[in-house]
Amino acid sequence: MSRTASALTPALAAALVLASAPARAAWDLNLPPPVTPLAAQILDLHNLILWICVVIFIGVFGVMFYSTYAHRKSRGYRAAQFSHNTRLEILWSVIPAVILVVMAVPSTVTLIEMEDTTRSDLSVKITGYQWFWEYEYMDSGYSFYSRLSTPREQIENRAAKGEHYLLEVDNELVLPVGKKVRFVLTANDVIHAWWVPKLGIKKDAIPGYVSEMWAVIEKEGVYRGQCAELCGKDHGFMPIVVRAVSAAEFEAWLGERAASAAGAAETVTETVTIHPGAAVSDVDSTVTVGG
């Protein structure tokens, strides 16, 4: 598509692309189909407030456009001279307030749920760098970098653009479906933001600070997103790809990856000093360095 486009005049190219677009079905008008309960709730919330806004809009501007049609001087309409109506003014302050409450209730419910990161099944630490991501499975310590894999030639228009142009990486983040994944975010240099629309989560990754969010992915598949906070020159080139697989597949994948990484790395053994009164269980004292 864009190969032909660059050869033609922009307008012609546009006509071509626009005409052929239905075949590519890329005229998406709404949020993408959700694959987590949170994303689904957000979509419902979005649709609700959108339709409330549309109805208000049609109501108000129905009145206004009727007026611009009917109350024209050219139709011989004589101007009334009223300039107050206390009842009306109270009414149109109170009704919007009530509508706002109607919107606020489901928003609050969803928000409370979004902020509840407790009782997670696994933790993944996400670190933003200029301009790639690092993922670490906190329970095993296995970590890797994830970078854009789109070839330079495609970006510089010297090669045809692939299907997932700019939304493809060398190492995907693999996650199990049906598990509550808690993400711990931070950054190494400047602020980034980790966002996968279909998961319904976006949060800033801030150097020096950790923050959290969570997701339960309900459907296996590949979900793509991008950095959503301007982080410098290649901000547009640090995509996110999540591959959601079954829990068993995930365990197998992680076990294999972590084992081969651990084999290559140096292992330090330490004991944890426990002070009187501290009951310690599940102390994992083996730390993999440089994984």
């Binding site: 598509m1 864009s2 660059s6 307008a11 190219a13 677009a21 005229w27 998406d28 709404n30 949020l31 993408p32 709730q41 957000i42 979005h46 959108l50 809009f57 108000v60 206004m64 007026s67 611009t68 109350h71 024209r72 050219s74 101007a79 300039s83 003014e89 149109w92 302050s93 919007p96 706002l100 919107m103 606020a104 928000l111 979004m114 902020e115 970006i155 228009n157 142009y165 700019l166 400047v190 602020i191 629309p197 319904g200 989560i201 976006k202 949060k203 800033d204 801030i206 150097p207 997103g225 950095c227 959503a228 906070e229 301007l230 410098g232 020159k233 290649d234 901000h235 547009g236 080139f237």
Partner: protein
């Protein structure tokens, strides 16, 4: 300007010898001259910023890098915003205030005329510095107009030039604001009580207070940035005990009132135009004043709605969500009042009215998308996407800029003594309104589909709407050349305008001849 020129020299009562030519403009202390200079400057900046926007849109026409490399792209988005906000919208409104506030309250001039001259002449220097940053080795500022640390700490000398430029713009608008407040408080004609002031004057009074409250805070924030960059402080550096998130809090403490600084005077202009062409008094004057004040107060209490994704304790997120939603109530009151003013009027639709009606209509789209952005869980999806870009262009372009265009058509006959070409004016309106929507409406869809803002290149599924948007942007840009042409023609000549200009016009400015002599209301008018 030629006509103003001659009037000034004719009506110069020899109180002080007026210099001619360039010296006249350099040294003028006349509010009308200074108003003209502000407006011309704003128009120029609108074109400069517009050119940058077209570069951005050209790059985004299709996937792949074609026009700008990523570093330049970021500099363009940053400078586009800074030029538009501090160069076009704010000085534009100050220009309107300079011309109109004294005429509307029956004052002979601004209260502090020499300061007035100074505050204008800072601007060309500030913007030379700002735009000059593009020529430095590392290029201009590239951290977005929000200048978030630590990204803004990374940039080169261009960032320092930007910081100094912002200081200068800040000084300029603070001085301008002080002047407007003093003028309104001290120079009203006898009988012009506060609650008799035209709404444009009211909105500017409140805006001026917002300016003196928040521009110094911005100055503080960028000063901290400067000392962090060069003088070893660590306000925003966690390694030194600072916090990058604090920059965002300070910035938005300025930033949210700032967006109202950019819209309240627009509300004022609309509130002058609609009654004129509806031939009916403004509906709910008192509640308009009250709503404006309420919006201004609330604007100090909602800043963190720009930072929901930063992460805040639940209570904080809930508070900022509710407070932001609350702003919709006074904003709604204004919109209802405008519609009620039109209701059962006897309307005609000359160009200013076309602009005013479309501002009400299109601004409301932006207001409603703002309401959606206030809903925190949904904002997690919208934040930093093209949905936000669409939102703020609906409030800023079809709100602030189109209101100024409407205001220009409304008062140009008064200022120049000539009528502009009505047919061309209507053409300009329709081209602007249509191309504006072609440019920005699709951006809502892009944002929802997942396109982040501030990226120079994008995935293939965003292609179609980006192409539509770019085509719209070029149409919108070209349409503004028509505006320049209409304005220039109107200044040079045209059908003579009488004092009242518009059949339904009410207010002191319409009692003066068109164009008004250089010195007006030297003896205060009588207010009925």
């Amino acid at each position: 300007m030629a006509s103003i020129d001659t009037t000034v020299s004719h009506d110069n009562h020899g109180d002080h010898a007026q210099p001619y030519g360039i010296m006249r403009w350099l040294t003028t202390t006349n509010h009308k001259d200074i108003g003209t200079m502000y407006l011309v400057f704003a128009l120029l900046m609108l074109l400069v910023g517009g050119l940058m926007a077209l570069l951005i849109r050209a790059e985004l026409f299709e996937p792949g890098l074609q026009v700008l490399d990523p570093a330049r792209f970021n500099q363009m988005t940053t400078l586009h915003a800074l030029v538009m906000i501090f160069g076009a919208v704010m000085p534009g409104f100050v220009g309107f205030a300079n011309w109109q506030v004294p005429l509307m309250i029956g004052a002979p001039d601004m209260a502090l005329p020499r300061l007035n001259n100074f505050s204008f002449w800072i601007l060309p220097f500030a913007f030379t510095l700002l735009l000059g940053s593009l020529l430095t080795a590392d290029g201009g500022p590239a951290s977005g107009w929000t200048l978030y640390a630590p990204l803004s700490v990374q940039g080169g000398m261009g960032v320092d030039m930007t910081i100094f430029a912002i200081h200068m713009m800040g000084v300029s608008s603070i001085l301008g604001a002080i002047n407007i407040i003093v003028t309104i408080f001290n120079l009203r004609a006898p009988g012009m009580t506060l609650m008799k002031m035209p709404l444009f004057v009211w909105t500017w009074l409140i805006t001026a207070f917002l300016l003196i409250a928040v521009m110094p805070v911005l100055a503080g924030a960028v000063t901290m940035l400067l000392t962090d960059r060069h003088f070893g402080t660590a306000f925003f550096d966690p390694g030194g005990g600072g916090d990058p998130v604090m920059f965002q809090h300070i910035f938005w403490f300025f930033g949210h009132p700032e967006v109202y600084i950019m819209i309240l005077p627009a509300f004022g202009i609309i509130s002058q135009i609609i009654p004129t062409f509806a031939r009916k008094p403004l509906f709910g004057y008192d509640s308009m004043v009250f709503a404006t004040a309420a919006i201004a107060f609330l604007s100090f209490a909602v800043w963190a709605h720009h930072m929901f994704t930063v992460g805040m304790p639940l209570a904080g997120e809930l508070y900022f969500m509710y407070a932001t939603m609350l702003i919709a109530v006074p904003t709604g009151v204004k919109i209802f009042n405008w519609v009620a003013t039109m209701w059962r009027g006897a309307m005609t639709f000359e160009t200013p009215m076309l602009f005013a009606v479309s501002v009400v209509f299109l601004f409301t789209i932006g207001g409603l998308s703002g309401l959606m952005l206030a809903i925190v869980p949904a904002d997690f999806q919208y934040h930093d996407t093209y949905f936000v870009v669409a939102h703020f262009h609906y409030v800023l372009f079809s709100g602030a800029v189109m209101a100024m265009m409407g205001g220009a058509y409304y008062w140009l006959p008064k200022w120049t003594g000539h009528r502009y070409n009505e047919t061309l004016g209507k053409w300009h309106f329709w081209l602007t309104a249509v191309f504006f929507n072609i440019t920005f409406f699709p951006q809502h869809f892009l944002g929802l589909a997942g396109m982040p803002r501030r990226i120079p290149d994008y995935a293939l599924q965003f292609t179609e709407f980006n192409m539509v948007s770019t085509i719209g942007a070029f149409g919108l840009g070209i349409a503004q050349l028509l505006f320049v042409y209409i304005v220039v023609r109107c200044i040079i000549g045209g059908e003579r305008a009488d004092a009242r200009v518009w059949e339904g016009a009410e207010g002191l400015e319409w009692t003066l001849p068109s164009p008004p002599p250089a010195h007006t209301f030297t003896t205060p008018p009588k207010i009925a």
